[in-house]
Structures are given as structure tokens and as C-alpha cells.
């Protein structure tokens, strides 16, 4: 397992590097940049000094340098105008749109995004695991049918629609606004116990909204996998020999059925992040999604790049955790793969 861990880490590092290259290329792909777009507007309005100002700012921010050098400076592996000052040094760059360092613009949005998505993931697993096991063990019971019905509704309902419905119901019947991730008095304040409690209270609805479809999908997968395992010959043999149901269930079938459940961690994260971006717009959540959309539209390259890199890194880490868990749980050769080197 140690060898696998080391190999997997070594795979993850170039993956992150390639993602950072692709991210940088993507944000550079549209013609021009934020400054040239701004300057075009100034020239159109008759500002004669605009060209000189543009040249100065392009030099100041290193936008006149080749793309490869810009990338290396942005990552922090090549010295720029201020020495080594990039992602690896904790300098996320400059937001042209807000005219502030990116880390000041971002504030606690990245942390809140992480918190929201992590909590959603816990919610998905905490809810889907017992229900998935129950519906498989009690197949065709009333509980199974009821959970299956709820699961299908969860799968079929788009997140943003559920968010709108909950917003409407909460406002109409309870007179409360559930938008945002904290009460207004805590916005921009340092983290305190009161702020933390407020975040927890506001997070309940977004977590349910973002996590519903994932939960429903997980329940269906776990149920199907466990039913497959429960019908295998070794289970029949163990039953015939009088092994207690609970012990039998926990020893092998559940363990085997958990594989796709665990493997889905990696797929669940990007789905939740992209899903939460839309929900964040609908529910006015101060997460990374809406700001990322705005930064991409205005070609605010360092702001957009920081968000994209963060989200990609989160996904890669999710896949890493998922692969490790899967290798620990069931290191079995899969169909179509080779037996040995």
C-alpha cells in the first residue's frame, strides 16, 4: 500500500502541473487581455495617453512577456518583476477588474466553497449509506419502495429548481430569506463563534439542494451493487452454514458493494462543484462560482486562473482520496487489465 501511495502521489503532481498549464492556456485563449480591452474603450473615448499607459501596465504586470514565462512567473517557479512571487509563494496575482490582489478579492470564498462542498459530500454519504443498505437488505419492502420513489424525485429534480422552490417556500411560509451563507452583520468580519453558527445555519438548505441528486444516485448504486453481491454463491453458502445475517453482510458483501460507492468520491466532487456554481448564483451564496463566472467574462486572468486551479486541485485531491480508499478496500485486478508486469 505504501508503494501504491508513493506511485499515486507521483502521478498526482504532474497531473496538477498539466492542469495548471491547461488552465493558464485557457484563460489566455481569448484574443487580447483585460488591459487591452479596457484601453480599447479609453482610446474610443479619446484618451490620447491610453497607448502609453497600456504599454506601461502591460510591462508592470508582465503581460508583454512570452506566455511560457508568464506561466512560470504565475506559478512561482520563475522570477518576475518582484522576484519569485506566484502561486507557490501564496501570491495569487492581481485582479484587474477589482484593482486589488486576488487573495483580497477572493477573501474567504475559497474556504466557504471548500466547506460547502465538503459538508455536502458528508451529507451525501451519511444519508445514502444507511438508506442504500436498508433498501438492498429489505428489497421490495414498503421502505424500499418509498426510498426508491424519493430517490427518483431527487435524481430528476435539477438543483437550481429545488433551490428556487425552497427559497419560495421559506419566504412564503416562514417569512425567512435563506439566501447567502451567513447573516449580513458577519459579512467581511473575522471568524467568530457567532459567525460560525450563522454559517452552519445558512448551510443547511444549500447542502440539501446541492446534495440531493448525488444522494439519490448513491442510494441507487449502493442498492444495486449490494443486491448483486447478496445473490452470489458465497453468500448462499455462508447462509446455508448458518452464519448470522449481520456478520455475513458486514464481512464481504457490503465491503465488495462499497467499491463503486467509494470510487464515486472522485466523480462526485466535480459534479458538486459545477452544480454548486449554479446554485450559488440562484441562492446568492458567497462561494467561488459566481465570481469565477464574472472573472471569465471579463478576462480577469489571474482571478479566473486562481479559481480554476483551486477547483481542479480539489478534484485531483478527491480522485486521489478515492483511489487510495479503493486500493485499501479492494485491491483486486479489474477486467481487461494485466495480471503482472
Amino acid at each position: 500500500m505504501f508503494t501504491y501511495f508513493a506511485h499515486r502521489v507521483l502521478v498526482m503532481i504532474p497531473t496538477l502541473l498539466v492542469i495548471s498549464v491547461i488552465t493558464f492556456i485557457i484563460i489566455q485563449l481569448p484574443p487580447g487581455d483585460y488591459l487591452s480591452n479596457q484601453m480599447a474603450e479609453m482610446i474610443a473615448s479619446g484618451d490620447r495617453a491610453a497607448m502609453e499607459k497600456l504599454a506601461f501596465l502591460r510591462q508592470e504586470f508582465g503581460l508583454d512577456k512570452p506566455m511560457l514565462e508568464q506561466y512560470a512567473v504565475w506559478l512561482g517557479i520563475w522570477p518576475g518583476n518582484n522576484g519569485f512571487s506566484g502561486i507557490l509563494q501564496g501570491d495569487l496575482g492581481w485582479s484587474f477588474e477589482y484593482n486589488l490582489p486576488v487573495d483580497e478579492v477572493v477573501g474567504d470564498r475559497l474556504f466557504l466553497s471548500l466547506l460547502l462542498n465538503f459538508t455536502t459530500m458528508l451529507f451525501v454519504y451519511a444519508v445514502s449509506f444507511p438508506i442504500g443498505v436498508y433498501t438492498a437488505v429489505r428489497q421490495y419492502s414498503f421502505g424500499d419502495h418509498a426510498m426508491t420513489f424519493i430517490g427518483y424525485i431527487g435524481l430528476a429534480t435539477p438543483n437550481f429548481l429545488l433551490a428556487l422552490i425552497l427559497l419560495f417556500l421559506a419566504k412564503k411560509h416562514f417569512g425567512v430569506s435563506i439566501g447567502g451563507l451567513m447573516d449580513e452583520q458577519f459579512i467581511g468580519q473575522d471568524m467568530t463563534w457567532g459567525k460560525f453558527v450563522s454559517i452552519c445555519e445558512h448551510m443547511v438548505v444549500p447542502v440539501i439542494v446541492i446534495g440531493t441528486s448525488g444522494t439519490a444516485g448513491m442510494i441507487r448504486r449502493l442498492r444495486a451493487n449490494l443486491l448483486d453481491e447478496l445473490q452470489k454463491q458465497y453468500v448462499t453458502t455462508a447462509r446455508a452454514k448458518g452464519l448470522k445475517s449481520r456478520k455475513l453482510l458486514l464481512k464481504y458483501p457490503l465491503r465488495m458493494a462499497l467499491n463503486p460507492f467509494v470510487a464515486d468520491i472522485g466523480n462526485l466532487l466535480p459534479q458538486m462543484i459545477s452544480g454548486s456554481a449554479i446554485v450559488a448564483v440562484v441562492m446568492s451564496l458567497p462561494t467561488s462560482g459566481p465570481m469565477l463566472v464574472s472573472a471569465l467574462q471579463s478576462q480577469d486572468q489571474y482571478l479566473a486562473g486562481s479559481f480554476l486551479l483551486f477547483l481542479a486541485a480539489l478534484t485531483v485531491v478527491g480522485m486521489f482520496v478515492s483511489d487510495l480508499a479503493l486500493a485499501a478496500l479492494d485491491p483486486r485486478i479489474r477486467l481487461g487489465s494485466e495480471a503482472s508486469k
Binding site: Q89, L243, K247, P331, R332, G336, S337, A339, S340
Partner: protein, 184 residues
Amino acid sequence: MMSASENHRYPLKSLVADYIRAAVGVFLPIALMLFTDLLPLVFYAMAALVVLFGIYGLRTAWRHGTVLAVDEDGVRQEGPLGGLLDRNIAWPEMRDFRLRYYSTRRDGSDGWMHLILRDANGGRIRLDSNLPGFDGIVGRAHAVALDRGLSIDPTSATNLAAIGLGAEEIQTATSTPLDKQYPS
């Protein structure tokens, strides 16, 4: 059929890739730590990588100097440290047999296998499929496991089937005592 006693070594060719991995994993983070002014969090992450791949490199070197002797009595792992960390498992005392498969690829291809043997005294020998004669050692250990009525978990059974072993599992499944098939 295996002879009375056989010695196996990891050839350098099969370990070159591991040495390269260890070198890259150690020297790249060190270069970043020395030549760039890293954020403390990133610095500690790089230091952790150096430790991780340092251990990985030492393990590779240890495997490089290890001789695995298999005979009628059991299996012995003799390392390069003059008896320190040497291990020995006698066949009659073997208590656990596990065959694991790992791959870093999405489709599960191009992976490697680990055979883990344990005895009643807590002794443990682990070898991987880079070792020439690996399949033969697995076959021998598997035969001993069957003779002793040891439980073969479904993961090991699947991996055994992949290298052409383990058909006997189906035959012995009903004759193995329940407490050995499903040890608590």
C-alpha cells in the same frame, strides 16, 4: 515444478523505474525548497514529499539487496543489513495469504501484485510481481494455504484467477470449516 530450494533477487532492470521515481520525488521538492521562497504550507508539503520518497528510495535499495529463498520448509527473506530485518515463514506456520493488485491507471492496466504472507508469530513477508518467479512462489504459497484450509478472501481469489490459479477455491469452498472461511 519448483526445485527443493530456489533463490530469487529483484533484478536492477525491474528497479530502475523505482529509483528514478525516488530521485524525482526527493530532488524536485528539494530544488523548489532551495531556490524559491515557498509559502510555509507548500514548504511543509514539499518536505513531506522528500520524506515520503526518501523512504521509498530506501525501500527500493533494500529490495535491491534482498534475496528471497523458497524451499520445502518455507520462505526466507534475507536483506542486505546482515541479518537485521531478515524474515522467515515456515509453511506449517503460515496463517495468512493475501494477493493484492495495484494500478495507478484508470483502466487498471500495467499494475503490479503484492503477495503478503503472515505466520502465527506475527512474522510477515511481502513481495511484489517484479520478482522473477513471482507466479511460482504465489502458486506454492497458495497450495500451502489450501492444504492448511486457510481462508482466501474474494480479492485474493480474483487475483489468483487472473494469474491462472485458484480454480480449487470453488471445490474447497464447501469443505473449508466455516470459522476459517469467515474468521472474526
